[in-house]
Symmetry: C2
Subunit: 335 residues, 2 copies
């Protein structure tokens, strides 16, 4: 795998670094509108597909049974910064199903939002699984297990009913056969299944429109997208790309980052889906690619453009606030 350069990092008039990658923009049938690099190579989508992983929670009726509101559904799709509000919503989701943080099997890490980590430390506390960026997804998995009448224990293992439901949803939405035994293990211990960018883009086109989805999946996808659009802070957090973009665009775009430079999006009004993989795993480059594609594919007003334009060519400033360079789209992405 060696894809073309799509993003350059400029400093002092030179290209200091560069990022290669691939991207696919397709419709609900998988017809490619735009692409760069190898879009048929399977990639682990990681957290970029959390909205698909959350479909069974809604479709099964578990979300309704436990009274999960839009905040909870947005957090189920989140890679959050571990800020106080994220933690509170995750705890509330677990309590709704009669469970608590001890049930979470995602592991603990310090909040990824630095100020939240410092604040936690100043309280003399250690991070727990509620601070894990995936705690909302995992609280949703536990609600799903309880809603299905299954024991949540071991819900991260590929053979547990929860992960079988999740795999079935991924398979149905992306049209890609996925095998229980062929997976990587994600940072939060659930299986991640490799899927080509072309199929991921098609899946997100379907998530955005409902076209090509079973009725239950279509209704669940619409509800999850609307929940995230209503609470974009909960899907990421302070200073984060996904939050900023969805605060600006509302239901016009559903965007979700994943680890290792993956990024997916649904653009309902265009009937299109986007899937991106930066070969080297760099989030900074995946964000530039996503912002560039959003600007190209959506008609934007002034306020929207004011948010998107800087994300497509972010300025680099140093510790004295001096502008020292910038990222910019390159190659197939620049033309």
């Amino acid at each position: 795998m060696q894809d073309p350069v799509l993003v350059e990092v400029m400093r002092g008039g030179r290209v200091e670094s560069c990022h290669a990658g691939a991207f696919a923009v397709t419709d609900t049938e998988g017809a490619v509108l735009l692409s760069g690099g190898d879009i048929d190579h399977p990639v682990y989508p990681r957290s970029a597909v959390k909205v698909i992983q959350a479909l069974p929670l809604v479709e099964s009726g578990a979300a309704d049974r436990f009274g999960l509101d839009d905040e909870a559904l947005a957090l189920a799709c989140a890679s959050h910064g571990g800020e106080a509000r994220h933690v509170a919503v995750a705890a509330r989701m677990l309590a709704a199903a009669g469970q608590d943080a001890g049930r979470l099997e995602c592991g603990a890490h310090w909040p990824s939002f630095p100020a939240a980590a410092r604040s936690l430390a100043c309280e003399g506390a250690e991070p727990g699984p509620l601070h894990n960026n995936c705690s909302g997804k995992h609280a949703g998995f536990i609600c799903l297990a309880c809603g299905l009448g299954e024991n949540p224990r071991g819900y991260v293992t590929p053979s547990h009913r929860v992960q079988r439901e999740v795999r079935a949803a991924l398979q149905a939405v992306t049209g890609t056969p996925l095998h229980e035994g062929d997976h990587g293990i994600d940072g939060c211990s659930i299986p991640t299944y490799a899927i080509p960018l072309r199929a991921l883009a098609q899946g997100f086109a379907r998530i955005g429109t409902g076209i090509g989805l079973a009725p239950g999946h279509a209704a669940a996808a619409r509800r999850l997208r609307r929940a995230v659009a209503a609470h974009p802070f909960l899907v990421a957090g302070t200073g984060r790309f996904d939050t900023a973009v969805m605060e600006a665009l509302g239901e016009r775009a559903f965007v979700k980052v994943g680890a290792e430079g993956v990024f997916c999006a649904a653009l309902p009004e265009r009937g299109l889906g986007i899937a991106i993989k930066c070969d080297d795993g760099a989030v900074r480059a995946a964000e530039v690619i996503m912002a560039t594609l959003l600007r190209r594919l959506l008609p934007l007003g002034g306020a929207e453009e004011a948010v998107l334009a800087p994300l497509a060519a972010p300025e680099l400033t140093n510790w004295n606030g001096i502008a020292v360079g910038a990222l910019r789209p390159a190659g197939a992405l620049a033309t």
Copy 2:
């Protein structure tokens, strides 16, 4: 610029991500022993050349005039984690020249070592320029200015006597003509001059041996290398690659990371220098390349190998401590 893949990131039996880059291993004459990618393309060496940037501090006599000991000289070459000991040594260097932290022009940021940042926050404090990872280098620059009888103010600007001395040292050691007007601005606001990897490797071969250097530079380089070997904690910090390698190898290897995936090293006993640039700026890949080259170029005992081998193929564990993958050398680096 698109160099070959040198490092792969494995997960679940697949290549999840990969890193392209270039590396040069040369002798003091610039003869290439090993290389990969384009080693004639100029790259910003960033903090990887701090030992060269510190030569004027020693050679000018300023270090002796202000009684700078090995701890201070090690910190002058450092990109440190902002831990308490780093901050204390930087403050001591400034005090030795009758100056204080208010003189530092590097800007402030939270300590890069997370526990140090949390500890600072719990004291109710904000980070200052002493916590900047470059504060030792900057304290050295201020000592140099004072030793030369120059006003330190503006010591980060390319035309200040301090930066002219630094540029002259870089030019002499690497044999590369550098022009005051052709530079990028580094994170800490000083100029960074682009230099081909081949010339950087040659420069580090000279730093490690003294061969090809003016006597004053040779003596200063020897003193700085020994200072760092005596205090490898000060050049980086807790859990850091440079510290671990030099704790294991002592004076057998001088290694120094720079921002955006640059890494340089001197191997005195082999008369060789190493210079690496990971195209995408990834430190994780630059570390794998460096550890792989060190293992290939140096005969290692069991204790040394026990440190280096895991750094050349670091295991990836998730938040539950489960092994989920690993980095490994690839392509020209694997053979």
